[in-house]
């Protein structure tokens, strides 16, 4: 490990130690006795899990398609076609790839503002209204739509987390040899069967990694939630906004205690992921 690597590791450890030294158990217990904080913890856990599941729904098929469209066998097949078709195909693939990276490179606040503007458009307002009606029919009349409601929290988390999950799944499928899938198709499996029966079982470690990454990203998401969902206590407040609100009101100890809950959750999830995916070679899926 390089000297800079050691310095970086020391920085991470020093930050965590400083946090734990700054806060004490009485701060933590008083924070946890606050019903509003307990609400934000529960909302964080639930919204992150929903956002991560939704991210996987998008990431698994999208990552698979992107990986296979860029595979050697596809390149060979395209090589037999006209140069114009080949160029068009590559252009389309790179465009989709770039578009999917946009939520990763955009400043978080811009993601929030873009979502807010989108839901001010006629289509967005229509969706907002229909969502409110749907929740009312389900008996959750308190959720009146998407913007500045719990669905906004989940959508803001999902928008960023899904991009990371797609990237992880794409890397996973790229490292899995596609020959067994091609054999399955040759033997008569449909493309869906080859994906579900042959490719997916091989990618389970990548799926766990993508879920973890999406969950952890969602947990740390703040900017888009601030703009698109607001920071209403007992309504759209998640742990990251608890840190912000405590800090805004001058309660630094409360902010650090809330941060420690975030840090603990993140560490627990990372350790669990490592344990679940332990024992496989790098070819059997990817942990990023």
């Amino acid at each position: 490990m390089s000297v800079f690597g050691v310095f970086y590791l020391a920085l991470i450890i020093a930050m965590l130690v400083a946090d734990f030294q700054f806060a004490n158990w009485s701060d933590m217990s008083s924070l946890l006795s606050d019903a509003r904080v307990r609400f934000s913890i529960w909302l964080s856990l639930i919204s992150c899990t929903i956002a991560a599941i939704l991210s996987l729904w998008v990431a698994i098929p999208t990552g698979f398609l992107l990986a296979r469209l860029g595979s050697e066998s596809m390149t060979q097949r395209l090589g037999q076609q006209s140069p114009v078709r080949r160029r068009l195909f590559n252009w389309a693939r790179y465009s989709i790839d770039t578009l999917l990276d946009i939520p990763i490179v955009l400043p978080p606040l811009v993601v929030g503002i873009s979502l807010l503007v989108l839901f001010q458009s006629p289509l967005g307002r229509w969706l907002d209204q229909r969502t409110g009606e749907l929740f009312a029919s389900l008996g959750y009349a308190g959720i009146r739509g998407i913007t500045y409601e719990i669905p906004a929290v989940i959508l803001a988390q999902f928008t960023v987390a899904a991009a990371f999950a797609v990237r992880t799944m794409r890397n996973t499928f790229e490292q899995i040899d596609d020959r067994p899938e091609r054999v399955a198709i040759t033997l008569g499996a449909s493309h869906y069967q080859a994906f579900s029966m042959v490719a997916l079982p091989q990618a389970w470690r990548g799926v766990v990694a993508a879920f973890t990454l999406a969950w952890a990203r969602s947990l740390g998401e703040f900017g888009p939630i601030l703009i698109f969902a607001g920071t209403a206590r007992m309504k759209t407040e998640v742990l990251s906004t608890t840190v912000y609100l405590n800090f805004q009101f001058g309660n630094l100890r409360g902010a650090v205690s809330a941060s420690l809950i975030l840090v603990t959750l993140a560490i627990v999830v990372l350790i669990l992921t490592r344990l679940i995916t332990l024992g496989g070679s790098s070819k059997k899926g990817v942990i990023v």
């Binding site: 054999v183 198709i185 033997l187 008569g188 499996a189 029966m197």
Partner: protein, 223 residues
């Protein structure tokens, strides 16, 4: 045997590939027919083109010239999707390289591509002497056992034609007999079998033998 009753009709088949600027003729003017219930062996030394011929008959490798008709369809005049559909429904293929999926158990391997149920897959594994290994993975088996799994996969969906590329290549005599027995029984039950082999006396089990190195001498020996 006439074209009406034949399942597979190979007509004037030739295959040529280019190697370092020189054309290499794998086989020339190869013609034969396979009818239901026939067991046909393709004989030839290593590198003589047995696998190439079988891949062409399975609709996986377009020949340089000639025609292959399967169930009345000119295979290489069909769009790829239609050809794949016909192959998946009516042809079972045992690759020389086996092509088992290493991370799927034996039952799942037999099910891949064939669409058969776990019950049917296990029945075939049992028949080929692997009933107690259905939850094992290919890497845990000997090469001979893996060959039998590949045979189960080729035959489990009961295709009209089973194409087997050296299915007894690494088997001892007892297991070879078991494999020949299963294939013969399959042919007797109405399915056709086209098999590449390096066995010295293929005529002892095949209805007729195609000697790929002496195609001029190709003759049918219907029993």
């Amino acid at each position: 045997m006439d074209n009406q009753s034949s399942l597979l009709v190979v007509n004037e088949l030739e295959h040529v590939f280019s190697n370092r600027g020189q054309n290499v003729h794998v086989f020339e003017k190869c013609s034969f027919e396979v009818a239901p219930s026939q067991f046909v062996a393709v004989q030839g030394s290593s590198g003589s083109g047995k696998t190439t011929l079988l891949l062409a008959c399975g609709g996986m490798l377009a020949p340089s010239s000639g025609e292959i008709h399967f169930q009345g369809n000119n295979l290489f005049k069909l769009p790829l999707a239609r050809r794949t559909k016909i192959r998946s429904a009516s042809i079972g293929y045992l690759f020389q390289t086996l092509e088992l999926v290493p991370y799927l158990d034996l039952t799942a391997n037999v099910k891949v591509g064939t669409g058969v149920s776990s019950f049917v897959a296990n029945q075939w594994l049992d028949r080929l002497g692997l009933g107690d290994r259905s939850r094992s993975y290919p890497g845990e088996l000997s090469h001979g056992q893996r060959q039998r799994v590949a045979l189960a996969r080729a035959i489990a969906h009961e295709p009209a034609l089973v194409i087997a590329d050296e299915p007894t290549g690494n088997l001892d005599s007892r297991n070879s007999e078991m494999v020949f027995g299963v294939l013969k029984e399959y042919a007797q039950d109405g399915g056709a079998v086209l098999m590449a082999t390096h066995e010295p006396q293929p005529a002892t089990f095949a209805d007729f033998v195609i000697d790929i190195e002496n195609l001029d001498l190709l003759k049918a020996r219907n029993r």
